[in-house]
Symmetry: C2
Subunit: 223 residues, 2 copies
């Protein structure tokens, strides 16, 4: 008991989990999977990698116990192993943001200037969800909406938004949400809506954080 070799092996075990998150593409996979289960081809598309490489990254995540699989026909669906994995991703994000000097810069490069984007807090949205005074738009890909969304939200993937803007009542406030604090879909939606003279705000963070806060959700039932 307590010898150096066994101690090394134990802490190498912890390090193996961290290593699984030690690649940007895998972190992206975790961020996407925090929205709900997806199959390999979709995931490959999301992270801009080949299917083979994406599969390989998913094997690494599975090897560290971060994701689990389910087969449906000849599709294999991946999802996060548990809420604890989501917490780990949240903790990682928080540390990176607080302590990694370059991160603000990288985030600004990717997200652009957010200073003119208004945000609505989870609590305020939760209070006004049934008011009828606002419309909630889920601007993530349809598969993520299907896997789970804010109660009463309407699915409008970001690339379809401009087609339906004219159909939105002009006098109602619009709230857009997406994957989380480092997702651009809701930003793009608010910018587009603002250009069209709509009163639009972005929900604080994204869907996973809303779910974690125990606010009401619903999902499209599997057939």
């Amino acid at each position: 008991m307590g010898d150096r070799q066994a101690k090394n092996a134990l802490f190498d075990g912890f390090a193996d989990v961290a290593k699984a998150l030690g690649n940007g593409r895998r972190v992206e996979l975790v961020d996407v999977l925090a929205q709900g289960e997806r199959h390999v081809e979709e995931l490959a598309d999301e992270i801009g990698q080949s299917v083979a490489n994406t599969s390989h990254h998913l094997q690494v995540l599975a090897g560290a116990g971060l994701v689990v699989t389910r087969r449906d026909g000849n599709r294999i669906y991946y999802q996060l192993a548990s809420g604890e994995v989501e917490q780990l991703w949240t903790a990682l994000r928080l540390v990176a943001r607080t302590h990694l000097d370059e991160l603000d810069e990288l985030a600004a490069d990717y997200l652009g200037n957010r200073s003119r984007l208004e945000e609505i807090s989870r609590d305020e949205l939760a209070r006004r969800l049934d008011d009828g005074t606002l419309i909630v738009l889920d601007v993530r890909p349809a598969a993520e909406y299907a896997a789970g969304h804010i109660r009463g939200a309407r699915s409008v993937p970001i690339d379809q938004l401009s087609d339906i803007v004219h159909g939105l009542p002009a006098d109602v406030e619009v709230v857009a949400y997406c994957r989380g604090p480092y997702c651009v879909f809701a930003d793009d939606a608010v910018r587009l809506l603002s250009r069209r003279r709509r009163n639009a705000r972005r929900l604080q963070d994204g869907f996973p954080e809303w779910r974690t806060a125990q606010h009401p959700i619903e999902s499209v039932l599997a057939s």
Copy 2:
């Protein structure tokens, strides 16, 4: 905004933090530093590595923003950058334990059989701290006791315990604590005390968790 290259760079930034924890020796360093600040030579000794190699690992941790330094005379003291880093380590530990199949095995190899070690919860210890019905022993190295310990605890580094057992009142319960759930010092202490017919228990987890739970602590004031 939102292009693939910037997105890669951003998520690579998150991955950099995870990479810093992607080595068992660095995880050990974080575990030790969660107890309080230490200098390089002590740390090298703790993780069983050369001073140069330890320094290198500390640079990696510092580069990811996980640790910060302070100079005092010609010593440089390292400490965790914040409580958020501790939370990240806790989240990592939790995921590894829940989802990595081999981890239980590795932990058993290092910790030995804990089934006969009795534990006392933080809450119970907190309630009885001023009772006078128990003695609390901090069996970590003296430097960690100095950096902070449970209020009223007595410092007895594990390798000095056998020398002082006979001085402990025979009719009082003893509680030993150390660094956390994967630390053997308190286990060894309880085993040794039990062999000497003392009524001894191990505190649930360790000092960092006690501190996080906002229970009373104190530290040896620096001169």
